[in-house]
């Protein structure tokens, strides 16, 4: 599908934000889903580039637009960064399964708490889809299809007190911190970790997460993570140790993005497993990219 590029601008460093007009995608996109972008019309590069949806279907003027956030890391994203406003961009989407709310078992109801204690953990470009998720949470809307039917009614009706998740943003340096203001504008509490300590907590974001959890401020919670695989692995371990439900959005090189080629598989737990080494491959593009953290078998 050809979409008009409304803008394509450099935010900072190697990070760009592209806005396209794609009413069909904007109308149904859910946080955690992605679009598959053909960055050029020619053979170089040949394959599409999967980019997670940063925002979609906003208010008024933004109703028909889809926003993508990307970092220039290779020739594909390099070419994309050179695309101009008003040009046509070939985009397929929305693809994949997004984040889901955990149904009735969620602690917010049990405790009658005013705070819905969700923790969003964003590493590097992983911030992109989590802003979209934070938006939906702030609006008190069921974010995705899976489990949405079982979503607490009070919450869906907006009776639940305003939801303010804790957002942990991890970045290499302070120059790489993305979307901090956007999260704050959505009413989130934001904490930062940088690898070099140039801002906030010095060290990996998973360490910061551990610290937060050990402070027992969130004894009952749920974690949503997106970022590099080692970070997601840590989140998975932490969540399982603390018996906190967690979902992670995985990244993978894809050929088709629609579930046909079986190229982007990840090892997951086999429900019917008979031996220790028993596993099933699942497609990141079609079965994911969001998985229950406990289901993924990490390398």
């Amino acid at each position: 599908m050809k979409s008009i590029i409304l803008s394509n601008r450099n935010i900072k460093g190697r990070y760009f934000e592209i806005i396209i007009r794609a009413p069909e995608i904007a109308a149904i996109a859910k946080p955690g889903q992605f679009v598959n972008v053909k960055v050029s019309d020619g053979l170089e590069p040949l394959l599409r580039r999967p980019l997670s949806i940063h925002k979609a279907g906003g208010q008024r003027k933004a109703k028909d637009s889809v926003v993508l956030l990307y970092e220039v890391v290779g020739k594909g994203t390099e070419i994309l960064s050179g695309r101009k406003s008003q040009e046509l961009l070939d985009v397929i989407g929305p693809l994949g399964n997004g984040f889901t709310y955990y149904p009735l078992s969620l602690p917010c109801r049990q405790a009658g708490a005013k705070r819905y204690p969700l923790i969003l953990v964003a590493g590097g470009m992983g911030t992109a889809p989590l802003v979209f998720l934070a938006e939906k949470i702030a609006a008190g809307l069921p974010a995705t299809t899976r489990g949405a039917g079982r979503f607490p009614r009070d919450y869906a009706r907006g009776k639940q007190a305003t939801v303010k998740p804790l957002v942990l943003i991890g970045a290499k340096t302070k120059k790489d911190i993305l979307c901090e203001e956007e999260f704050r504008d959505l009413g989130c509490e934001v904490k930062i970790a940088t690898d070099d300590g140039s801002r906030g907590f010095k060290g990996y974001i998973s360490e910061l997460l551990k610290q937060e959890l050990s402070a027992k401020r969130y004894p009952l919670s749920a974690i949503y993570g997106c970022g590099p695989a080692p970070m997601l692995k840590e989140i998975s371990l932490i969540s399982q140790k603390g018996h906190i439900p967690a979902q992670v959005s995985l990244e993978a090189h894809m050929a088709c993005g629609i579930g046909a080629c079986m190229g982007c598989v990840v090892k997951t737990q086999n429900a019917k497993r008979k031996t220790q080494n028993d596993f099933v491959y699942k497609r990141v593009c079609k079965d994911g990219p969001v998985f229950e953290a406990s289901q993924v078998i990490w390398e």
């Binding site: 170089e44 040949l46 394959l47 050929a255 190229g263 982007c264 596993f279 491959y281």
Partner: protein, 317 residues
């Protein structure tokens, strides 16, 4: 002027000569959101084996200049689940279904699969995948005699090809297609062997064995080290091979290898293909096949050609 796009492959009458290459279209479900599947000439399934296969370790694909490498390793649900879970949807498309089969051992598994599929009326034809470069499926004879030859594919030896096709031919009356490997010295020789064995058609080419290396990590880009190259990069090789085979055999050729638009599709017909299959291009534009059908119609009208028969093999030298 009425345009007749019908072609015949064995006993199989196709409304048009557009197929999809095995392994690039799953079991068609994934493409239903993007296109009207009924417009296709035929659907070739992802290869199935008798038992389920998990496939090769990731990474399984990587991009290369004008192409890509894959080493999926024939991940599939196995025959039983295919019939139970995948075939009902395929049947609904009302398009001829060509089931691609492979063996994890010797010829016996091919024969068993063909015998079972022969009883399934929704299956229109069987394609023998004897050319997948990503699994070690080889002739029993080689296993016994020489360790060195163990990685040889059936489609890399005319005698093995002949023996297998003949064995499968005995157990099925359905249209039988043999898929050939380009990783040979003389592909026409293999095609002739398939024809002698009783194959109704040959499809060519499967992927070219290939490799790509990440110079920073000094590791192969594929989990399985080597893989198969596909995409526009291999198209000229495929066209040449279709032309070579066309001169030697009488049975129809299903041409494939880097077809991405009607211009590239037409090259294959001129070289002698009776039908063509779109592979890698399905990944980039799921509607490629339908766009090619339109393009071929336009070409035929423009050149006042009324049927595919006139076009096929009409290369002028």
């Amino acid at each position: 002027m009425g345009i007749n796009l019908k072609v015949k492959i064995g006993r199989l009458q196709l409304n048009n000569p557009l197929m999809v290459a095995s392994g690039t279209f799953g079991y068609a479900e994934e493409f239903n959101d993007f296109m009207d599947l009924r417009q296709l000439g035929a659907i070739v399934t992802k290869t199935i084996t008798l038992n389920p296969r998990q496939g090769n370790p990731p990474p399984r694909t990587c991009e290369t200049p004008a192409g890509m490498l894959n080493s999926i390793g024939l991940e599939n649900p196995g025959l039983e689940k295919f019939i139970q879970e995948k075939l009902p949807f395929l049947k609904k498309t009302a398009v001829p279904i060509i089931v691609s089969i492979a063996s994890e051992g010797g010829n016996e598994e091919f024969v068993t699969l063909a015998r079972q599929l022969d009883k399934v009326k929704e299956v229109s034809a069987i394609e023998l995948n004897i050319s997948c470069p990503n699994v070690k499926v080889h002739s029993q004879k080689f296993i016994v005699h020489s360790k060195k030859l163990r990685t040889r594919l059936i489609s890399q030896d005319p005698k093995s090809t002949y023996a297998l096709v003949k064995a499968v031919r005995r157990v099925t009356g359905k249209t039988l297609i043999t898929k050939l490997s380009p990783n040979v010295t003389d592909i026409a020789e293999i095609a002739l062997a398939a024809q002698s064995g009783g194959s109704d058609a040959v499809s060519l080419i499967n992927t070219l064995t290939a490799m790509s290396i990440d110079i920073e990590s000094r590791k192969p880009r594929l989990g399985n080290v080597t893989g198969g190259l596909s995409g526009p990069a291999i198209r000229p090789v495929a066209v040449r091979m279709v032309w070579e085979v066309h001169q030697k055999i009488k049975i129809p050729i299903i041409g494939m290898g880097g077809i991405s638009d009607s211009l590239s599709a037409l090259e294959f017909f001129l070289a002698g293909a009776s039908a063509i299959a779109v592979g890698t291009a399905n990944f980039i534009n799921p509607r490629t096949t339908l766009e090619i059908i339109d393009g071929i119609k336009k070409y035929l009208i423009k050149n006042k050609i009324s049927s595919m028969k006139t076009l096929i093999g009409s290369l002028q030298i």
